[in-house]
Symmetry: C2
Subunit: 226 residues, 2 copies
C-alpha cells in the first residue's frame, strides 16, 4: 500500500500490553522482531529470552511490555485484524453495489499481502504468515472465555461481523450469514496452510487461488451468479 495516511495507528484492545509498545523504540523493536523470530522458530520454541538476545536487549525489559508470549500473540493478532479491517473498509467503502463490494471484501481477505508503508516497524507479509500458523493457538486455550470477556477478541469478531453485513446486504434472506462469514475468514487461513503443507487436500495452488474458491463458495451460497 502507498504511504497515504501520515499518522495512522491501529488500535488494539486495552490490556493486551502492559505498556504500549508503539510508544517507544524498544517497544517497536519487540513487536517487529517478535514477528520474524516467531516465524523462524514457531510459537512453541519462541521465548522472550531469545527475543531479547535477538534485539540486543534484556529479557526483563520485554516483560515490562508484555505479560508473557501469549499476550504478545494476542497483541499481534489484534493488530493484524485491525489492519485487515482498515484495509477492508478502505477498499470497499466507496462501493455501493453490494455484489461488487463483497467481491472486493473477499479479495482483501484472501488475496496476496503486501508490505504497508504506513506501519514501517511491522512486516505485514511475515505477520500474515505467522497468523496462518499461530492464530488459532491464541483462542484454543483454557482461558478463552475470560479473555473474550476482557475484549481481547473484539477486533476479530468485528471483522467477521463486517463481512456478515456485506453478505446480508447482497442476500438478506440467506439464513447463515454469520456462519458463512466466520467459515470464510477461518477457511482462508486453512486453505493457505494446506497449500503449503498438505497440498493433496486442497485445490488451491499457483493456478487456482483461495480467492477464486471462496468467491465461488460465497456466491453459490447466496444464489448470485459470479
Amino acid at each position: 500500500m502507498k504511504y497515504l495516511l501520515q499518522s495512522l495507528k491501529i488500535v488494539v484492545p486495552d490490556g493486551l500490553s502492559i505498556k504500549d509498545p508503539e510508544s517507544s523504540d524498544l517497544g517497536k523493536k519487540i513487536v517487529g522482531e517478535s514477528i520474524s523470530l516467531i516465524h523462524e522458530l514457531g510459537f512453541e520454541s519462541f521465548t522472550f529470552k531469545k527475543l531479547g538476545e535477538r534485539i540486543g536487549s534484556n529479557e526483563s525489559s520485554i516483560y515490562r511490555y508484555f505479560e508473557n508470549k501469549h499476550m504478545l500473540l494476542l497483541y499481534l493478532a489484534s493488530w493484524y485484524w485491525g489492519w485487515t479491517e482498515y484495509k477492508l473498509v478502505f477498499f470497499t467503502n466507496h462501493i455501493s453495489e453490494p455484489k461488487e463490494k463483497l467481491v472486493k471484501a473477499l479479495e482483501v481477505l484472501s488475496g496476496e499481502i503486501f508490505q504497508d508503508k504506513n506501519f514501517s516497524h511491522i512486516n505485514e507479509v511475515s505477520l500474515h504468515n505467522i497468523m496462518i500458523k499461530e492464530y488459532s493457538k491464541s483462542y484454543l486455550t483454557k482461558e478463552v472465555d475470560s479473555e473474550n470477556k476482557e475484549g481481547y477478541f473484539t477486533v476479530y469478531k468485528r471483522l467477521v461481523i463486517r463481512l456478515k453485513e456485506m453478505i446480508e446486504e447482497l442476500n438478506p434472506s440467506y439464513p447463515f450469514s454469520l456462519s458463512l462469514a466466520s467459515t470464510v475468514v477461518e477457511g482462508v487461513f486453512h486453505q493457505q496452510f494446506l497449500k503449503d503443507h498438505f497440498p493433496t487436500i486442497t485445490d488451491c495452488d499457483k493456478k487456482l487461488s483461495a480467492t477464486t474458491f471462496f468467491k465461488s463458495l460465497v456466491f453459490n451460497c447466496l444464489n448470485v451468479t459470479e
Copy 2:
C-alpha cells in the same frame, strides 16, 4: 453405537507410539485417561507427570509408550479420524444414490457424537471435545512437513479425500471438490468451537445445527436442491 463388531481395532499410522497402547492395560489406561485429563487441563498444561499421578502409574512408564505429549496427541487424532472414517464408511456404504450418500456423510461428520461400545477404553464424546480445541495444534508446528512425510496425517487426509469423492460423484464438474471437503471437515470443528465460545459470530446453536449449515453450504456449491 451398538456393540456390533467384536474384535474391531482402529489402525493408526506406525511410529506414533513406541509401544502399541492397545497391547496392555496400562497402555489403554494411558490413552483413556489422557483424553479426560487433556479435556480438564487443556493440552498446554497437560503433562505426563500429571497423567502418571492420575492413573496411579509412573511418568517414566508413560514415556515407554509415547515419546512425548505431541506424539500422544497425534495418536489420539489419528484414532479419532480412523474412527470417523469407519463410521463414514459404515453408514454410507449401502447408499448408492449420490445425494443421499453425501447427506449421510455430512451428518456423520457434523452430527452429535455418541459413545461407541466397540471401544470401551475410549470416551468418544470427550475425544471429540478435545479434537475441537486441540487438533489443529497437532499440525500447526514447525515439524509438520517431516511428520507428514512420516505418514502421521494420512488418516485425516484420507477422510477428506473420501468426502471429496462423494462430492465429485454428485457433481463431477464442480472444480473445488477438494477444497470444499477440507473446508467442511475443518469448518465443522470451528463452528462447534464458536458455538461454545464466540456465539456472536456463528448462527449455529441449539436450534440451528452445524449439520444444517454445512448441508446447505455444500448443496448450494454443487447446485443441487436440498
